[in-house]
């Protein structure tokens, strides 16, 4: 490898090092520290002036205490499991809503499609936080949804949606829908219409053709969309804390509380490290499936 090539490759690695690995090791280091009433709120802290002996002393004070604590306190286990459950269900719900969306856009006349795609990503033009706040206005007991349902006479009492898991699901589906729609649309848009006709020609009904051709060929987009929704949802903090109830257990919310309410940075860091380890699995799977797709399309 020539020097210039090495240099070229070095640049992204340097970015990765600076923006990901260094902060990650800092977090790991904090996770191995102990809680202390000081600034910063943990001990030991790294002190270069103490020299080699100071460094050895520093290392000897690091331990796995926080991880042991997390393993023993079943609150954290439950939170991880409940996050996982919410993320899986929310991803499936988003898929259920997103697929017809993407399909409808792909079926629209070609001159309409760019505008429809633009509409899908339009919400990104306002702040995420504001959009979630807006949902409070819609979902609360006096919100638009309940007012509307009561006006139509479908219900007589307002439905308690806000501060429940249902509100969290609605929030996630709403906020992450574009991440599901866009990759699915991208695969459906490329789909050659004559494939469906070929399937019908060979004996499929319209529905069978849709099932055996469209769904099959949309798979890569579906997989990409699911990962793009699942990965950020697992650590989602804003939606469960604004829309969820006291009993909505999500790891992002616990993280926030440990950091800012309890000021227990070491435990919070340990939670963050575990979250990251959990996320590595789907991320690696995602990369693998993307890789396979690229090879197929070569």
């Amino acid at each position: 490898m020539t020097l210039s090539k090495r240099l070229l490759i070095f640049v992204p690695y340097a970015w990765l090092l600076a923006l990901f690995l260094v902060p990650f090791f800092i977090v790991v280091k904090i996770a191995l520290s102990d809680y202390a009433i000081s600034i910063p709120p943990y001990t030991p802290t790294f002190d270069l002036s103490a020299g080699w002996a100071g460094f050895v002393d520093f290392l000897s004070k690091l331990d796995l205490e926080n991880f042991v604590f997390l393993a023993e306190d079943d609150l954290y286990w439950k939170t991880f499991l409940s996050s996982l459950q919410i993320a899986v269900i929310a991803t499936l719900l988003t898929l259920l809503v997103g697929f017809p969306f993407a399909y409808a856009i792909a079926q629209a006349p070609s001159e309409w499609r760019p505008s429809l795609v633009l509409l899908v990503i339009l919400p990104f033009w306002t702040s995420f936080l504001i959009r979630v706040y807006a949902l409070i206005g819609i979902l609360s007991n006096e919100g638009f949804l309940n007012q509307f349902l009561m006006w139509t006479g479908l219900i007589s009492e307002p439905l308690a949606i806000l501060n429940t898991d249902i509100a969290v699901y609605i929030g996630i589906v709403y906020a992450y829908l574009p991440f599901m729609v866009l990759p699915i649309y991208a695969t459906l848009d490329k789909l050659d219409g004559s494939l469906l006709e070929a399937a019908q020609d060979l004996g499929c009904t319209r529905f069978q053709a849709f099932w055996s051709v469209t769904i099959h060929l949309a798979k890569p987009g579906v997989i990409a969309g699911c990962f793009l929704v699942f990965i950020p949802t697992l650590g989602e903090f804003v939606i469960p804390s604004l829309l969820g109830g006291a009993r909505t257990l999500m790891i992002g919310k616990v993280l926030w509380e440990e950091f800012f309410s309890n000021r227990d940075w070491p435990v919070a860091s340990a939670v963050a490290v575990i979250l990251l380890l959990i996320l590595i699995v789907p991320i690696v799977l995602f990369q693998r499936s993307e890789q396979r797709l690229r090879e197929q399309n070569q």
Partner: protein
Amino acid sequence: MSNNTPFAPWNDEAAVPLIQFDGVSKKYGDFLAIDNIDLKIYPREFFALLGPSGCGKTTLMRMLAGFEEASAGKITIDNKDMAGIPPNKRAVNMMFQSYALFPHLNVVDNLAFGLKRSRMAKSEIDGRVEEMLRLVQLQKFAKRKPHQLSGGQRQRVALARALAKAPKLLLLDEPLGALDKKLREETQFELMDIQEKTGTTFVIVTHDQEEAMTVASRIAVMDHGKLVQIDTPDRVYENPNSIYVAGFIGDVNIIEGRVSHLAGEEAQLCWAEGTSDIRGMAGPKIQKGEEAAFAVRPEKVALSVQEPIERNNRVAGRVEDIAYLGNMSTYYVRLENGNLIKSQVANDRRISRRSVTWNDQVWLSWSDTAGIVLPSGGNPS
């Protein structure tokens, strides 16, 4: 079918057609894509639809396959009215212009796709797929995905897939469009071979007249949604019924004039001051005294230095250009009245020995039955 009578069910009053179009039209909005077509196609025929791009060939095929409904008229296949019958309920299979192979399935699964929808036993399906692979000589590629195949191989998979369900009728929409010339020619013969072996009725769409001439038992020439002529390849070539057909199939010389004599099969055309009238066969729909055009193929026009006094049809001119094509040469001869006539001469001598060259005065001549007098108008596109 016995071997000593030629295959020509269209001349047989008692023959039962497989496909029948009765006054079929197709409109897309206000646009008339198919204009009142009557057509009969017989079992075991290799029927070619020929015409320029946009004349309605694909539309006609798609109506047979069941992807389009006729706006008017009736289509019957095997004596059954096809109105409202979806593609999956027709004993018709189509080989698509783009091949439409399923990219997520390998060759075997592509071939088995249709068979799996027809309650066939697993072992039977395997046998049929094997048979199809052998038919198109793709046994070695059974496990490949479409993207791992060459254009010619894909085309053969598409053909095998369309044949796998043993349809009564196979539709081929420009099946060889994506292949290079040499592969095209080979594949044309393969297609004829396969058609013969399977006994399936083929309807092929093409815009390549040579291809149509090579493979077809009959050719239908289309123009703007109408069928202009339906005939065997040799009759379409030798007896075109209009200048449009004459010009669309092969090369042709056109001389315009007025019918001066008409008697049975013979016609004469008065075409220029001070020349004798051209004699030719009488085409359809010409009238004495009316404007008409004489059409003659370049290979039927002889070229000589001496005046060929034994022939009635002879004209003098000057060689303006010579196109050397290897096996033959085309001489472009300018007549005294300004007409440019092509004469095609086989190169049976080496080039240096030939006597005629640029600017030479020459005579062109042709027999009384070499050309045909056709109604004028409807110029070749």
